[in-house]
């Protein structure tokens, strides 16, 4: 564990509330990126970040340095995000074809390659839709593997699932992303 993280944890355990700020400032942005990729929504991501730190503060007395504090916070954040995604009503996402109406494309200007700009916007929208279609577990596992580079074993530990089940969850997620995006990227 990073020396300064270790010192901050020790001070928090001793009752120094302000020492927790060191951990907050060091890990907030990374947690926000994870939470946003998992929830796809800024407000939800902000809520996940807040709740993660609140839970971590409550449980810091039980943190054992088997892993780094960053990994520990990641696990808490992943679980907060899963809880939140399961609670909220399923968002109806229009099929990708219906969204290719150009309304969300950036305005075409005199900038070079306006067609490429428009295509990029469509692709980003399609990626967001495809991620929205994944289940909470699929999205979590996929985000942790693809964006955060966590191993399948680490992801399984974070989710309380066996390695084989985690592997299959990631495969399902990748297959769904392929089905949604392959026609677009091939063209």
């Amino acid at each position: 564990m990073d020396g300064s993280d270790q010192a901050a944890v020790a001070r928090v355990r001793a009752g120094d509330e302000d020492a927790f700020r060191v951990l907050v400032e060091r890990h907030t942005r990374r947690l926000f990126r994870l939470a946003y990729r998992m929830t796809g929504n800024e407000q939800d991501a902000e809520d996940v970040v807040q709740e993660t730190f609140l839970r971590a503060y409550r449980q810091v007395g039980r943190f054992e340095a088997r892993s780094s504090i960053g990994t520990w916070l990641y696990r808490i954040a992943a679980n907060c995000a899963i809880d939140l995604m399961r609670q909220r009503p399923h968002r109806d996402v229009a099929p990708p074809a219906a969204q290719d109406d150009g309304e969300d494309d950036p305005p075409v200007s005199a900038a070079p390659d306006p067609e490429r700009l428009a295509a990029s916007a469509v692709l980003r929208h399609r990626v967001a839709s495809a991620l929205d279609r994944l289940s909470a577990m699929e999205r979590t596992a996929f985000v942790l593997r693809h964006f955060e580079g966590q191993s399948i074993e680490e992801i399984g530990r974070a989710l309380g699932a066996r390695t084989s089940a985690t592997k299959h969850t990631i495969f399902r997620a990748v297959q769904k992303m392929r089905r949604a995006l392959e026609p677009l990227v091939q063209s």
């Binding site: 990729r37 409550r58 007395g61 899963i82 692709l123 530990r157 495969f171 392959e182």
Partner: protein
């Protein structure tokens, strides 16, 4: 050539799973896969198609946060830390020690019963006189924190067991100590929920207690196969998911309680 056609040939082509594991650096035989990709146009084409899809996913943008983001998060967080004290397992274990329970048991049961009767799961709000409502809000908040804490600690304890490093023998004495602390509290909540007619809550706590008792009563040093048996049994009950959902609901109730006008803090 499609994947289906690919597999009908006599050549052992790579599966989609092989390609995904290889792409993420988790293939068991990367050298063999690399060699195959070098020699097989079909599989190399499939690998490139996968790569294009995942490269497109990489472009999923994350909104930028401002320069003061960390400070803003801390400013929102700090006041909440004061109202959410840190409890260690030993604090709660001491609170629920049998001697202490015997001394204050009747009152504790009544308070918890009143809390659980219609508080844990959404019910229509009852009109409450102002002063009694204020004290009741405080009790409700304290108890929501207690039950929420209990469910979260239980979840963490079970997850830590599930995630323990497997080996020839596995030492679960630490996990047993935690389970022992949690069983006493769980019993109180379960019995009170049953008396209050909260069948769903009592049933969840009953399931949870079985798991905690199993952990508590197992040998401290488990063989690899015994450890695996316990883990499979816990998994098959889906207890982690059930506890997680219940914990979320309790937190929701806690937030709703906090949203009401603040109660006076003197005397707490």
């Amino acid at each position: 050539m499609s994947n289906a056609e690919c597999r009908k040939t006599t050549v052992n082509h790579l599966t989609d799973e092989d390609l995904v594991l290889y792409r993420y650096g988790e293939a068991k035989t990367p050298a063999a896969i690399e060699a195959h990709l070098g020699a097989c146009d079909t599989c190399r084409g499939r690998c490139q198609a996968l790569e294009r899809v995942l490269a497109a996913v990489d472009r999923f943008p994350v909104p930028e946060r401002g320069e003061t983001y960390e400070r803003d998060v801390w400013a929102r967080l700090r006041p909440q830390l004061a109202t959410r004290p840190r409890f260690s397992v030993s604090d709660w274990a001491a609170f629920f020690r049998p001697g202490r329970l015997a001394l204050a048991g009747g009152i504790a049961v009544l308070v918890v019963a009143a809390f659980l009767a219609g508080r844990l799961w959404p019910r229509p709000p009852q009109p409450i006189p102002q002063q009694a409502g204020t004290r009741q809000q405080v009790r409700e908040r304290v108890l929501l924190v207690a039950v929420g804490d209990h469910l979260e600690r239980s979840q963490m304890a079970i997850l830590e067991l599930m995630n323990a490093e497997p080996g020839q023998t596995v030492d679960i004495s630490e996990e047993q100590r935690r389970a022992r602390d949690l069983v006493s509290a769980n019993r109180l909540y379960r019995q009170t929920a049953a008396r209050a007619g909260e069948a769903a809550v009592a049933s969840l706590l009953d399931d949870l207690e079985r798991v905690l008792v199993e952990i508590e009563n197992s040998p401290s040093m488990l063989s690899a196969s015994d450890f695996d048996t316990i883990r499979r049994r816990i998994e098959s009950q889906g207890i982690i998911f059930k506890v997680r959902v219940a914990s979320s609901r309790v937190r929701e109730r806690g937030q709703q309680t906090r949203a009401r006008p603040p109660a006076p803090t003197s005397g707490l």
